[in-house]
């Protein structure tokens, strides 16, 4: 009897082994048909695939490949005309005349001036509840489209005028020299006429005009795109398609890259950041990126008010008491780069030698001296708290920052972790923060304006934008206005550098580091590079 039982168990075991042994083969990498399909890591889009309703990378990855805009960006972030033939501003950058090339959507219908104007109006119209509507706020007629109760949804922006099928004009409500760059953002993509018949269906099965064509979206599993043979723009695909594979978490994807089942991912699990550059089973990439990570102390916080002598001294002292190089090395294992300004090394016009950037360099002696000077004006012995969302892996960073401040400056500092990103952002928008809080910025388009105006101009304060610390400085605002009316991008960038020097003195927020663009690709992938958005350049990859 006993023998029988054992034999049964052994048979079951060997059956399992047998099944196991044949499991390694038979995985379909899309190679069978002789076509080169890139399998890329992705997350499930949080919204339907409508350009104007896409504001996160889940939808942004496929969206960027499906829709060609008026201008496109090179991997480094330089803009050049794509669908646009020419973009001509008037003297004070309040009106643009845009001419477009002959171009077709993948359903065969032509891209006309109206494809743009109607799409922009649709997104700006509050009735249609599109998440990126505020991007259109500098176009004339935007304010008239903000009362959802009285709107039907098809009202047009009064600032957009179609001249003919290949030409339209844009009237701005204020000068906007960055407009020709802004229109490279996904929200400014043209939409075919079929969109308006059924936006909901379109969001599940988009029709675009970009380097790739939509095939299918299996929710929570994958999004498949194939090369659009009719596309003749700046980014013609070198492969035959991209399959975005949606993963539950990055560890699983990393294991798949090691095993060669997945071709590329633009992140590395935290546990592997130490080793991924030495791992011979994959190709690693790690360079300074465009994400700027900072923390903000509200400009109206007692003893820390910007523009006052005491506040400025304290802000500079805190900034100098933080050893950013050590943070980058110890906390991030080298997948971050020490911050030296308020934009990023990938932003056009970046400089690592701005006047005042010594305020971002570690200098414990000077920091103590400045803090003592501030105490001489008005004594401060309260506790400075650092709030962050605990669901994003920021804990080691803020533990280290608080420790450095305690040790280098001898002040009473503490962390204040908040459980979720939602609750954290909520407290910020309701202005409930009574101390420092984590802030970060991923640019929507490669321009210093996108960092500076959106985060520090008075017009973006008090809940009207992303100026979460409510920093207000007329001198800074004046430079923003001057840059908007600049004749050339170079001139604008010079003005943005001057504006940054004001920020480096006032320190409305404290730049800590730039998040690196880092990722991995499977062995045998050619052309793996990452762009200014910290995303792989999918079009260039081949096997």
């Amino acid at each position: 009897m006993k023998k029988k039982v054992l034999a049964l168990a052994a048979a079951a075991c060997s059956l399992a082994m047998l099944l196991g042994a044949c499991g390694g083969s038979g995985s379909d990498n899309g190679q069978a048909s002789g076509k080169v399909i890139i399998n890329a890591w992705a997350s499930e889009p949080q919204n339907p695939l409508i350009p104007g309703n896409t504001n996160e990378t889940g939808g942004g990855r496929p969206g960027d490949l499906l829709f060609a805009r008026l201008v496109s960006f090179s991997p480094k972030g330089d803009a050049s005309n794509e669908v646009a033939q020419s973009i001509t501003p008037n003297a004070d950058a309040t009106q643009y005349t845009i001419k477009i090339k002959d171009w077709k959507f993948t359903d065969g219908t032509p891209v006309t001036a109206e494809s743009f104007t109607k799409a922009w109006s649709y997104t700006a119209n509050a009735k249609n509840a599109q998440l990126t509507s505020s991007f259109f706020s500098t176009i004339k007629g935007y304010d008239a489209l903000q009362d959802a109760k009285t709107l039907k949804g098809d009202e047009q922006l009064s600032g957009l005028k179609v001249v003919n099928d290949h030409e339209f004009t844009v009237d701005m409500s204020q000068p906007d020299a960055t407009f020709p760059i802004k229109i490279g953002y996904l929200a400014f993509a043209p939409l075919p006429t079929s969109f308006y018949k059924d936006p909901k269906a379109f969001g599940q099965k988009p029709v675009g005009n970009g380097p790739y064509k939509f095939v299918k979206w299996e929710h929570n599993q994958e999004i498949d795109l194939v090369k659009n043979p009719a596309y003749e723009g700046n980014d013609v695909a070198k492969n035959d398609g991209v399959n975005f594979k949606i993963y539950t978490q990055d560890n699983a994807a990393y294991a798949d890259i090691q095993a060669g089942n997945l071709d590329v991912m633009e992140t590395v699990p935290a546990a592997d950041t130490k080793t991924f550059q030495k791992d011979s089973s994959l190709i690693a990439y790690n360079k300074a990126g465009s994400v700027s990570q900072t923390f903000t102390i509200p400009s109206s916080l007692d003893h820390f008010k910007t523009g006052t002598e005491e506040g400025t001294l304290r802000r500079q002292a805190i900034s100098m008491a933080i050893d950013r190089d050590t943070l980058v090395k110890k906390v991030f294992n080298g997948v971050a780069t020490t911050a030296v300004d308020f934009t990023s090394p990938l932003t056009p016009g970046f400089s690592d030698s701005l006047k005042g950037n010594e305020n971002l360099k570690f200098n414990a002696a000077k920091a103590k001296e400045l803090w003592a000077k501030a105490d001489a004006i008005s004594k401060y012995d309260g506790q400075l708290t650092f709030s962050y969302n605990a669901d994003g892996g920021a804990k080691p960073l803020y533990d280290a920052v608080v420790n450095q401040l305690k040790n280098n400056l001898g002040i009473n500092a503490a962390t204040n972790p908040m459980p979720t990103f939602q609750g954290f952002r909520d407290a910020i928008t309701k202005r409930q923060m009574k101390g420092a809080f984590r802030t970060g910025w991923q640019p929507d388009y490669p321009s210093a304006e996108n960092y500076l105006y959106q985060l520090y101009d008075s017009a973006a304060a008090d809940g009207n934008g992303s100026n979460d610390g409510d920093y207000k400085n007329p001198a800074f605002d004046a430079l923003m206005t001057k840059a908007y009316a600049a004749k050339s991008t170079d001139e604008a960038n010079k003005t943005y550098q001057q504006a940054q020097e004001i920020l480096l003195h006032d320190l409305p927020s404290f730049p800590l580091y730039y998040g690196n663009a880092y990722g991995v690709a499977a062995k045998g992938i050619k052309g793996f590079e990452m762009n200014w958005q910290n995303l792989p350049v999918y079009e260039e990859m081949t096997k």
Binding site: A9, N47, Y247, T248, Q249, A252, A253, D426, G463
Partner: protein
């Protein structure tokens, strides 16, 4: 029997209603505003936010929201997710995968658990009994995610024996390793449970009597020892099927399986109350039904139990 069954089924109604209310309240009480969070770090356009809130009834008070959900649920309309997907189709996508995974894990743990348990229990003190005991102790004490990562690295990445992750539309082989990981802890418990039951029953008087009457070894084992030993095991297995369905999350995230666990986790993070409540209600139903089936099975295994 029929009356008993009917009573048990009627009892499900308050259980399900209570769960939905409780879960709806819990999701409602989560800190943060899901609509604001949709804008991320970017400026919130209040007109747009109000429009989205109205669309998902989020502008109404809690109780009205709940009643609206219930009313729609009665007509099998569970609402839409923020991504514009009907909740029902999200569920229809996730459940089959998890059911497949849970059933595979269930068969794995039941088969190997009982077989190894019997081997161990019949021959206490032999070397293979010790090996089985040590392995089962190891499986119980090491957390599932450790077992998962270790197996994934060696069996998947290093030796290439089984697929590293499951991905979309997983087949039998894709789910084999996740199912083994998912079932491993329960298997260890079943081994120990079966072992102790078998070894105590073997010394019972009725076993000795049966042997004395000249009954064959096989009949003694099947009719007397096993039948009596399996009652607690069946209880455990019945409970466990529900646990496998709802507890597959760790295994699902490690092996990239887009099942119920991952769906629930994601929707809690995004504050998708309709989805969370629908999934949890369904899981509750599965729990209640498997419990009922277990109770019915008792009657088959133990003639003394009769339901009136």
């Amino acid at each position: 029997m029929g009356k008993y069954l009917l009573r048990r089924i009627l009892q499900m109604i308050p259980v399900v209603l209570g769960t939905t209310l409780l879960v709806y309240a819990l999701v409602f009480a989560l800190p943060g505003d899901p609509v604001r969070a949709m804008f991320g770090d970017k400026p919130v356009n209040e007109a747009v936010a109000a429009q989205i809130r109205a669309e998902y009834n989020l502008d109404k008070p809690f109780f009205i929201q709940y009643l609206l959900f219930l009313r729609n649920a009665l007509t099998l309309n569970f609402g839409d997710t923020f991504a514009g997907q009907p909740v029902i189709s999200e569920i229809a996508r996730a459940f089959p995968v998890t059911i497949k995974l849970a059933l595979m894990a269930f068969v794995f743990e039941a088969l190997f658990g009982v077989v190894f348990g019997i081997i161990s229990g019949l021959k206490k003190g032999k070397w293979y009994d010790s090996v089985i005991l040590i392995v089962s102790l190891l499986l119980i004490s090491v957390p599932t995610f450790v077992t998962g990562f270790v197996m994934q690295y060696f069996i998947g990445v290093k030796w290439r024996l089984l697929p590293v992750t499951a991905g979309s539309n997983p087949g039998f082989l894709d789910l084999l390793m996740p199912a083994m990981v998912l079932g491993s802890v329960s298997m260890a418990y079943i081994i120990r449970l079966t072992r102790s039951e078998v070894s105590s029953n073997i010394a019972e008087d009725y076993v000795r009597t049966a042997r004395a009457k000249g009954m064959s070894n096989r009949s003694v084992l099947m009719r007397h020892i096993l039948r009596n030993s399996l009652i607690p095991v069946v209880t455990y297995l019945g409970q466990d099927l529900g646990m496998l369905m709802s507890g597959a999350m760790i295994s699902e995230t490690i092996f990239n399986i887009h099942g119920v666990g991952f769906l629930t986790y994601q929707s809690i993070l995004k504050g998708e109350s309709n989805l969370v409540v629908s999934v949890v209600t369904l899981l509750t139903l599965i729990f209640v039904v498997t419990n009922l089936i277990v109770d019915m099975l008792y009657a088959l295994l133990d003639p003394r139990i009769r339901y009136a």
